[in-house]
């Protein structure tokens, strides 16, 4: 079974530039999460999708971050414009959904904003 795929693995951009991350979840997984993990901290949930609908985006900085999941499969997370404090690893995860479904994570995208 293929895992969660993310790209790119690494990205360096200047502040005020834009950046986009892509995630392909495990086939058949209805739930998709985007997390931000700042060095030394635990993953922080940015947004949760159930199929192509948003379940929770309460911690997504909507003035600069946006995410979509077209056709309930792949997802993209965009930051525009980026700030220095956005430097982090962005993790995508997916699960079958329903209660008690553990999430499977991709390798993450390490973003450095200079």
């Amino acid at each position: 079974e293929a895992g969660v795929a993310q790209s790119p693995r690494y990205k360096i951009i200047e502040k005020r530039q834009s950046v986009a991350f892509w995630c392909n979840p495990i086939s058949g997984h209805a739930t998709l999460y985007w997390y931000q993990q700042i060095l030394g901290q635990g993953p922080k949930l940015l947004i949760q999708f159930q199929n192509n609908g948003v379940v929770d985006d309460s911690q997504l900085p909507k003035d600069r971050f946006s995410a979509e999941r077209l056709k309930g499969v792949d997802s993209t997370l965009k930051i525009q414009p980026a700030k220095l404090e956005d430097s982090a690893v962005y993790l995508c995860a997916s699960s079958l959904g329903g209660v008690f479904g553990e999430a499977f994570f991709g390798q993450g995208t390490r973003l450095t904003v200079v």
């Binding site: 969660v4 739930t31 999460y33 997390y35 030394g40 901290q41 635990g42 993953p43 922080k44 949930l45 949760q48 159930q50 379940v55 929770d56 993790l91 995860a93 959904g97 329903g98 209660v99 008690f100 479904g101 553990e102 999430a103 499977f104 994570f105 991709g106 390798q107 993450g108």
Partner: protein, 111 residues
């Protein structure tokens, strides 16, 4: 507001001994708890879970204990092995929502 807390940032244990990792939570609506393990440059990997209707779940060398009244769970690794050296995250869910993580505990197993 951090709803899942791991107050010990690091733990060092000798190979063969028991590792005990602790986690506290504040949201009484959490009903499913998970532990994830993370190696450098990789995403977290699911390790073991427990639902709120149980107080113990065991899988090989890993056992998770849940004390709902204290809002506390722990992960026991017995015996600890060098390959267990990693960052361990405690996580919790409300039904199908809001998989929330603690800050992590870095475990180092000494030979």
């Amino acid at each position: 507001d951090q709803q899942v807390k791991q107050n010990s940032p690091s733990l060092s244990v000798q190979e063969g001994r028991i590792s005990i990792l602790n986690c506290d939570y504040t949201n009484s609506m959490f009903d499913y708890f998970l532990w994830y393990k993370k190696y450098p440059a990789e995403g977290p990997t699911f390790l073991i879970s427990i639902s709120s209707i149980k107080d113990k779940n065991e899988d090989g060398r890993f056992t998770v204990f849940l004390n709902k009244s204290a809002k506390h769970l722990s992960l026991h690794i017995v015996p600890s092995q060098p390959g267990d050296s990693a960052v361990y995250f405690c996580a919790a869910m409300e039904g199908d929502y809001k998989l929330s993580f603690g800050a992590g505990t870095t475990v180092t197993v000494r030979a």
